[in-house]
């Protein structure tokens, strides 16, 4: 146990040391172009970070909603016969929560692609 711990400790420390050695020993000749986030030789056209449309994330969220729903259906279908009505009640409760999420997203206009 201790040996394993020591191995992790030594190699972990080695990693940290190597990262910082680079910073300590390497030559440093900074200039403004080098410091800029995108170093490509030419001055950049616009400043800072602009807001990006989040439509793609919206699609990802909704995909998660429906995808996870289906994933949970499979094990449910397998045990349905043994569990009987309890399984039905549980699944309806689950679907109810998902439907509320779906209706909420719909009414909020998450399905409209235009901004």
């Amino acid at each position: 146990m201790i040996e394993l711990f020591l191995v992790f400790l030594v190699f972990g420390l080695l990693g940290v040391v190597l990262v910082f050695m680079n910073k300590l020993l390497g030559p440093k000749k900074p200039n403004p172009i080098k410091e800029s986030p995108f170093e490509c030789g030419s001055p950049y056209l616009q400043e800072g970070i602009n807001p990006v449309p989040i439509m793609y994330y919206m699609v990802a969220f909704l995909f998660l909603l429906f995808d996870i729903e289906v994933v949970f259906f499979f094990p449910w279908a397998l045990v349905f016969k043994e569990m009987g009505s309890t399984a039905l009640v549980i699944m309806f409760a689950y679907i109810f929560v998902l439907v509320v999420g779906f209706v909420y997203a719909w009414k909020k206009g998450a399905f409209k692609w235009e901004l």
């Binding site: 146990m1 201790i2 711990f5 509320v100 209706v103 909420y104 009414k107 909020k108």
Partner: protein
């Protein structure tokens, strides 16, 4: 007793959240006041159910979800805190550009996560509750979307919070690896029968402590606290300063209350908690001295209070821990209510200079705020004094005198910055430009309710202490 009814408080809260979400999208009203009243109504119902369940010990999911008296006391505290926070946000969210109906739904979801945490016996389910709480909290912190500070708070809270969660999960994995169970009772049973010291278990416990230390803002895991408290909408800050702290200590209490009596009781963890407690009190109070933003002062004060609460955990005195949490709920929500009230459309007064002369300009806000600050500093006859007194007394009885001496010195330091606010409120000329919205009856009733709570717990704590003692006596062992 195994009964489906054990789930009813939780289901009621989730149902309330879903109803609020649906009403928000279908009715599309300009003012969201009705949503706040509706959610408070649901929560009041939940509180009544919790009171009916007293002494009934309902459980469900094979005992994994157990509403024992301890869970009931914590659930009641959390429900009360959420109701108060909902009521003080009614005017605030429309004034400060966070007027979304989802606000209340998120608060209710966070509450449901906390209810799961305090009443669950399995660490994995506790982790699930923690995630529900955290994800709602991240969005609540960033709810003032036009405000860059609020977005900063959300992103900081999200990054550091998920980092802390990773620690917690790693701890749980190590714990499972060494004890083959994640149920608190079987872990304790394993520890009592264990024969040799297990390094993996110790590291796991340490990582679990770190995970929760992030949530309850113990030094050195407190870095996110001031920024998040400053950037979040003020009622949400009140919620953050009370809710996660109460559940964090509830879970730590459940894990550690019996830990000290087991065969694995090592000095290492005790020393670690001792050092964390000292650091939390000293660092929290010292940094608070230099702050000029009232929300940041209160943030550091809440860090310091986490240190005092940890003393109760170290001294193994659950009664005074819960009593301290109850008092802390009233005084901290009260103080943040006073801060919330000082604002008008698009403007919040949170700098110390803004508070000059408030005591005379708005006598009720000034006077109640002063009482809450006295209570936070620990002056009699407020609840803050008794809470500190009980904690320190039981720590001295258990032989932690050096710790108590440091705690007393730390709370003496804290008097300075609490009094600084009061001095600014009463001994400086009011600035003529300061103008706030005073027609806010709901907020004022919350202010007076908190005042009542602080004084009741400070002057006549017998009833509440009796309830807490009963709850602690019924703590399930093994």
């Amino acid at each position: 007793m195994n009964s489906f009814w054990a789930l009813s408080p939780l289901l009621l809260v989730v149902l309330a959240a879903l109803v609020v979400l649906l009403l928000e999208v279908f009715l599309k009203k300009e003012t969201k006041d009705y949503l706040a009243y509706l959610s408070s109504l649901f929560l009041a119902g939940c509180g009544i159910i919790l009171m009916i369940f007293w002494d009934k010990n309902y459980s469900y999911f094979d005992g994994n979800f157990l509403l024992d008296n301890l869970a009931l006391v914590f659930s009641l505290l959390l429900t009360l805190a959420t109701i108060l926070v909902i009521l003080i946000s009614i005017k605030y969210i429309s004034l400060q550009g966070a007027n979304y109906g989802e606000y209340y739904a998120l608060l209710l979801f966070a509450l449901s996560g906390m209810l799961i945490m305090v009443s669950s016996q399995s660490l994995l389910i506790i982790f699930l509750g923690l995630e529900i709480l955290s994800i709602s909290s991240y969005s609540l912190a960033g709810l003032r979307r036009e405000n860059p500070e609020s977005s900063e708070a959300a992103i900081k809270y999200f990054l550091l919070g998920s980092f802390a969660t990773a620690f917690l999960v790693y701890g749980l994995a190590l714990m499972y690896g060494s004890t083959h169970s994640l149920e608190i009772s079987s872990i304790i049973r394993f520890l009592t029968t264990g024969t040799h010291l297990n390094l993996m278990l110790l590291v796991g416990l340490g990582l679990i402590i770190i995970g929760f230390a992030f949530k309850i803002a113990l030094v050195p895991f407190h870095m996110w606290t001031p920024d998040v408290y400053q950037g979040s909408p003020t009622p949400v800050t009140a919620f953050f300063s009370v809710g996660p702290k109460v559940v964090g200590f509830a879970v730590l209490l459940r894990i550690f209350h019996f830990y000290w009596e087991t065969a694995f009781h090592t000095q290492t963890l005790m020393t670690a908690l001792w050092v964390i407690s000292v650091l939390t009190m000293v660092v929290g109070n010292l940094i608070a001295l230099r702050q000029t933003n009232v929300k940041r002062i209160l943030a550091y004060s809440s860090i310091a209070h986490a240190g005092y609460l940890l003393i109760a955990l170290i001294a193994q005195d659950p009664t005074s821990l819960i009593f301290y949490l109850a008092v802390y709920l009233f005084m901290n929500i009260g103080a943040f209510t006073a801060v919330t009230s000082l604002g008008r459309k698009g403007k919040e007064y949170v700098e110390l200079n803004d508070y000059s002369g408030i005591g005379f300009k708005y006598p009720w806000i000034g006077a109640t705020f002063a009482v809450f600050l006295f209570s936070l500093a620990g002056f009699p006859p407020t609840g803050g004094f008794l809470a500190k007194f009980f904690v320190f007394a039981s720590a001295v009885r258990k032989g932690f005198t050096p710790l108590v001496i440091i705690a007393v010195i730390a709370s003496l330091i804290s008097v300075f910055y609490y009094l600084r606010i009061i001095v600014t409120m009463y001994m400086k000329e009011p600035s003529p430009s300061m103008q706030i919205l005073t027609r806010n009856p709901v907020l004022f009733s919350v202010l007076f309710l908190c005042l009542y709570g602080v004084l009741q717990l400070g002057i006549y704590p017998g009833n509440v202490l009796g309830f807490i003692r009963q709850a602690v006596a019924a703590m399930p062992l093994l």
